[in-house]
């Protein structure tokens, strides 16, 4: 953003002020995440930078809390991680199947009441989580699925499908329907057409919607707090109790792992988005 040489001084000042504001905002967005890294290697038990850490004394750093996270006695993280992954994976699969089917229907120009149905399908994303939590809890308690993995998976399918619907409909908006007609005219049945033609083309959208659904489930705490028993504890639930009760640096070790995970997901999502834009012929 080099300024042309003829720029007046006051606009020059304004320009640097604007750059300064933007720098501050980017810093505000990203810096909090990086405070977690060094602190998770703290040798001491407090969540503040010790004097030794400020002097960069190697003695002040240790893998103690990572060790604690994996091998600690009575530690809930193992079970929580297992539950989180199981629940998130099944919720993602469910969201992808239901969401993709719905998106296919919604993208058809014959779909009646498109706006209304779309508004209903997206609503779990808009309705405050606490209300979704109460409603889903009442339902799960009634059918006897409270405090079960199944119940939580179903709840997370509800919360995850809007993301799949949105991303897949977006991918389908640039979809050339003449290819499916061509396949049909060549004698392919609808299932075959979907598997061989449509699915490969919309796959980036499906996967990125699936990533959203995965992250939503993996990160979701409000609804799980209503539904989960001791056996169904997840990583966010453990973090929530940890942050409320005993603040231990183990949480920071877990948080660091989560940041690494989210970085991986971000990279995957970005690559998919670019691929999808290329496939849809949107030049950026």
């Amino acid at each position: 953003m080099a300024l042309p040489s003829y720029t007046e001084t006051r606009y020059r000042i304004w320009h640097y002020f604007y750059i300064a504001i933007c720098t501050f905002v980017f810093f505000f967005l990203i810096a909090p995440l990086f405070v977690i890294f060094p602190l998770s290697f703290n040798a001491e038990e407090f969540l503040v930078f010790s004097e030794g850490m400020k002097r960069l004394d190697p003695e002040a750093f240790s893998f103690r809390w990572y060790h604690e996270m994996v091998y600690g006695t009575k530690n809930p993280w193992g079970l929580a991680a297992k539950n989180s992954f199981i629940i998130a994976i099944f919720a993602t699969i469910g969201s992808i199947i239901l969401g993709t089917l719905a998106a296919l229907g919604l993208s058809s120009r014959h779909m009646p009441y498109k706006g209304l149905i779309m508004a209903i399908l997206i609503s779990p994303m808009i309705v405050p989580l606490i209300i979704s939590g109460v409603a889903i809890f009442f339902f799960m308690a009634k059918v006897g699925l409270a405090a079960t993995h199944t119940g939580i998976v179903l709840a997370h399918i509800i919360l995850g499908t809007p993301f799949v619907v949105i991303t897949v409909t977006a991918t389908l908006s640039g979809f050339d329907h003449s290819v499916t007609r061509a396949a049909a005219s060549l004698g392919s049945n609808p299932v075959n057409t979907f598997m061989k033609i449509t699915l490969p083309l919309i796959l980036p959208g499906v996967i990125s919607g699936g990533l959203f659904a995965f992250v939503t489930s993996f990160d979701e705490v409000v609804v799980v707090l209503f539904l989960a028993g001791l056996e169904n504890t997840t990583i966010p639930v453990q973090m929530w109790t940890g942050l409320r009760e005993q603040l231990s640096p183990t949480i920071l070790a877990v948080a660091t792992c989560l940041i690494i995970l989210s970085t991986l997901i971000l990279v995957t999502a970005e690559l998919l988005r670019r691929r999808s834009e290329r496939l849809r012929g949107i030049n950026s």
């Binding site: 995440l33 977690i36 602190l39 719905a102 309705v127 405050p128 409603a135 619907v165 971000l266 950026s284």
Partner: protein
């Protein structure tokens, strides 16, 4: 005659119009069948349960079922003077059944909510009945009235009569710090006990200010991202997307570390000499913490819609404005800004909707003054177990959100929500 000639037929001899309609209908059904599984699933597990919250919030059947005979007799009572012997007898019979089922305690509690003092007099009556002190051959009315002087007070009988309908809006009134007075009119709770109104206002205030902060911080960086060359903006976009993908609890935890009294932000303030080391300001467990943390957490939801709108604005428009003699400020204000209004609307509404239902972050960094409506709903769901009140508050919040959602849908269209 002529219309028959004009009619075009398909190869199997059916008029094209009919054949086309048939095909259209088939396609319609096909499309609907694809959406049906998700729609059905959502209706069963989500939409109906929300509807059920409504019936739960107005439900008052418990007491209606507890005193069936009493309420039947009370239909004839005008509600001005003490009720007749029949009402007293019916109440006595109903109450005896409750004692046999050992559910009389619930009645006392429920009536006590309607009017203070019921708990003790129903217990007193129960003891009299258990000791067989009530002689059924004599006037029941006289004997009940002797148990306690409150039974002679018509206001208590009016309170019972008020509980007769199986539905009540009392929980909604409670959510707005109001209640049904003795004569059935709506009255305000004493000023020092109006906690819910404070919570509603605080929730609105926090959501509004967080939206404003997000807008003020999000607009410049969205503009920068949209105008920078691709290779730089992609890199900077990571600063927006990484927090967006990172766990909410991780981000809240990092703010708890930053904002605590011995935390990094305070360390920095001491270092630059803004505050004294022994006088570090409290930045967490109050509104400051809630504002700061929520703004950072919701900022990506403002930047992304703004960015996608700004991306479509051609830079030549600004150049044209400037070449026609506008200063950069005028060109921005008259050309660029109006074009970004759809993005502003989308971003602000999205952030506001998300902020108004926030729960986790205010509960962790907000302290007592950061408690919002959502926290209150969770409190009644988990601690007081007053589920009907939690449902009522939830639906009041939901109706507000749905209005905004409707506006959002009108302005932006839900199918235009962009992710990532």
């Amino acid at each position: 005659m002529s219309s028959e000639i004009k009619q075009i037929l398909t190869t199997d001899g059916i008029p094209l119009e009919i054949s086309l309609k048939k095909a259209e209908k088939k396609n319609k059904i096909k499309a609907f069948l694809l959406v049906a599984p998700l729609l059905l699933f959502l209706f069963i597990t989500y939409v109906f349960p929300i509807g059920e919250m409504f019936s739960r919030s107005i439900d008052d059947k418990m007491i209606t079922n507890m005193l069936p005979k009493t309420f039947k007799e009370m239909e004839k009572w005008d509600g001005k003077e003490l009720p007749s012997e029949e009402v007293f007898t019916a109440f006595y019979i109903d109450y005896k059944v409750l004692i046999e089922n050992q559910t009389q305690g619930k009645l006392g509690q429920r009536l006590n909510k309607e009017k203070n003092g019921f708990n003790s007099i129903t217990k007193k009556l129960m003891r009299q009945i258990k000791r067989n002190k009530i002689d059924e051959s004599q006037s029941i009315k006289e004997q009940i009235m002797k148990v306690h002087k409150r039974w002679r007070d018509v206001e208590y009988w009016q309170a019972i009569k008020r509980t007769a309908p199986p539905y009540t809006m009392a929980k909604y009134l409670k959510g707005m710090d109001m209640y049904f007075a003795a004569d059935g009119s709506i009255a305000q709770v004493d000023e020092d006990r109006r906690i819910h109104r404070i919570l509603w206002l605080r929730t609105l205030e926090i959501a509004l200010f967080v939206t404003i902060f997000c807008f003020l911080m999000g607009y410049p960086i969205a503009h920068l991202l949209a105008t920078l060359p691709m290779k730089y903006s992609n890199l900077l976009m990571i600063c927006v997307l990484l927090p967006f993908w990172t766990s909410l609890l991780v981000r809240t935890a990092s703010w708890m570390i930053l904002l605590q009294q011995q935390g990094v932000v305070n360390d920095f303030f001491v270092l630059i000499g803004l505050v004294a080391d022994n006088n570090r300001p409290e930045m967490m467990y109050n509104k400051v913490g809630t504002y700061v943390a929520m703004t950072q957490i919701l900022l990506p939801f403002m930047v992304l819609p703004l960015y996608s709108v700004m991306k479509t604005i051609s830079p030549s428009l600004m150049r044209a404005g400037k070449s026609l003699g506008g200063t950069p400020f005028i060109a921005f204000w008259k050309i660029y800004f109006p074009l970004t209004i759809p993005g502003i609307g989308a971003g602000c509404l999205l952030v506001f909707i998300l902020a108004i239902g926030y729960y986790i972050t205010p509960a962790l960094v907000g302290g007592a003054s950061g408690t919002l409506i959502s926290n209150q709903i969770a409190y009644h769901m988990k601690t007081t177990l007053d589920w009907s009140f939690a449902s009522a508050m939830g639906l009041m919040l939901l109706s507000g959100v749905l209005v905004i959602y409707w506006i959002y849908n009108k302005l932006v269209g839900v199918d235009n929500i962009k992710l990532g």
